[in-house]
């Protein structure tokens, strides 16, 4: 009885958040579902229960392809973030408070810059006449400029640059929570630094790693502007497709179905990450 009461009181604290979420998330999602079953014909939307949009999404031979390319791109970005972010988090953990602050600032700084400024900067660095290509040509290392942007590489690089902090911070948080004595214990039991990392540090940082991967993957699945600019429109993502369907075809119903597909993929990722975290806790 008392326990139930306390539970109720705890839930009560959540009510402003729940209200906000139902207004800004649940309600729109419900409307998306309704919209996704509408029919768009001859520029006019009519409501009802039509499966045309889902038939289009799964049957037009291109939406699914772009969806998988988006997943693939997000995986590239996530993996790159892990490979670059884990060492940074490790350094941050060992750094002095001052050094840590600098690193943090360095990692977060892309978030403080506007996307336009960032992408112009990338052009100056990666472009045909950018710093890298000019330097390499001057040194005679290459004859023709390297294609560093307007392709997947450029998109991954630019997105990783921004989302790295979403990987570094959760991993750093998890690393901070690790008792350093456990690593020392492993070392004194004969584990080399690499094995200490593999058997002790990494498993204990799995929750942070999973959180970071989830964040970066989800954010990458929604990435839109950077591929437009950095990918020269050749790297197609589902959000770009959705935007095009709404903006240039005015087809809300098809866009709704695609959005729900994206949402489902993200939901699946969250579930998978929860499972990994549970696994991490159990060892």
């Amino acid at each position: 009885m008392t326990e139930a009461n306390e539970n109720f009181r705890a839930w009560w604290l959540l009510s402003p958040t729940l209200l906000l979420y139902s207004l800004t998330f649940l309600l729109p999602v419900c409307l998306l579902v309704v919209m996704s079953f509408a029919k768009f014909e001859n520029s006019v939307t009519s409501f009802g229960f039509y499966l045309d949009n889902y038939r289009k999404v799964f049957g037009d031979g291109i939406t699914i392809l772009i969806f998988w390319r988006t997943v693939k791109l997000s995986i590239y970005i996530t993996v790159a973030c892990v490979l670059l972010g884990f060492p940074v988090a490790m350094v941050m953990r060992r750094a002095s408070p001052r050094g840590r602050l600098w690193l943090l600032f360095f990692i977060v700084s892309p978030l403080l810059t506007s996307i336009i400024v960032r992408n112009v900067a990338w052009v100056l660095i990666l472009g045909r006449s950018g710093i890298i290509n000019d330097t390499l040509r001057e040194w005679g290392l290459i004859a023709a400029p390297l294609p560093l942007m307007y392709n997947t590489f450029g998109v991954v690089l630019a997105v990783v640059h921004v989302y790295l902090s979403f990987m570094v911070l959760p991993i750093y948080g998890a690393l901070q929570a690790i008792n350093p004595s456990t690593e020392e214990a492993a070392a004194s039991l004969g584990a080399s630094p690499l094995r200490v990392f593999w058997f002790v540090t990494l498993p204990q940082s799995l929750p942070g790693l999973a959180a970071g991967c989830t964040l970066v993957f989800i954010l990458s699945m929604g990435v839109y502007l950077t591929p437009v600019i950095m990918g020269g429109n050749f790297v197609l993502t589902l959000p770009m497709l959705i935007t095009d369907v709404v903006r240039n075809q005015y087809n809300w119903p098809a866009a709704s179905a695609m959005s729900l597909m994206l949402l489902a993929a993200i939901g699946a990722m969250v579930l998978a990450s929860t499972a990994v975290r549970r696994f991490g806790r159990q060892g």
């Binding site: 309600l27 309704v34 520029s43 009802g48 045909r128 294609p147 240039n248 075809q249 005015y250």
Partner: protein, 355 residues
Amino acid sequence: MKDQPGISRRNALKTATAAAGAMATPYFFVKAHAASDPKVLRLYNFDGTLGDFYTEHWYNPFQEKFDLKLEFIRLKGSRVPLEKVQAQIGAGQPETDLFPLHPDQLIFAKRNNLAMEIPRSAIPEYDNVYDEFITDYGPCLVLWSYGLAYNTEAVSPAPTSWKALWDPAYAGRVALNEALKDQTLQMVNLAFKGQLYPVDDATFSHLTDIRPNLVALWSSGADAEQLFRNDEIVMTPFWNGRVTKLKSEGLPLEFVVPDEGFFVRCSVYGIPRNARNPEVAMEWLNFVCGHDPQKRMVEFGYGTPNKMVEHTPEQAKAVIVADPEVVKKAVAEDFTRILDNNAAWTDMWNKWKAS
């Protein structure tokens, strides 16, 4: 889909969906519900130099003359977000009192009853406008030409055909237009088939042929401008106004009308249904159709539908459409076909990109 029972339910759903659309963009939501003061006229404005031009010559003089307050919503890119306006009209009120529509957007607006009909009598200045630029929904203004822009230092001899884009000499130095992919597809057809339609596999096989030349597909005029500035490209299909501006800044660019033909488009300035101030909006339309605002537009580099505006030889050359010989080369686009094939063409386009 004609007349179904349960209209009220449908309308309710429509309203709810529209509300969701508005909610997704809280800024506009707030704007749409601002106090409806008859002395306030709400308009879209563009980014960049065109936006500056509008402010200086089309908005400020009107504001002074009629003692009104103008409010602007800045557009990203060159197209009014008609999908959003549609949601806003469904929910009650559009965010502006006027909207510039591309020809295909006008057809969509008609089909969904998004634009108000404007009687000819409401716009006295129509007397000075060529008939073909007057629609039931407003005047066609800002006549822009779409041809080939190229770097005069890197491309020689000067191209005379769209096919120059395919020249292997420019491998990795060419870009195409993603924002108006319908125009890109029609351009390919024009270059190789001598006609705009149909868009089919042959069209895309020519696009595949141009692939080695392509650096990027640009999605706004500003993007294309950057590509020229950064020396990424030497040639792209482009509109004349932006080239005029870049030339005036000293960039070695030139605009040509290819032999196969070129495109002329304009914006229909309409009044969205349920706009708060249609009377003032019509007043503004009358004002901009007039001689002075149109003369300024010619000076800026885009053509005018106003018969009374005279061109200097330089202006005539820059606006392209002032020369009857050149105008003959303009192709007649089928905007209904463009609108109705948008989805199918986009699918083919994306498959081509993904291949």
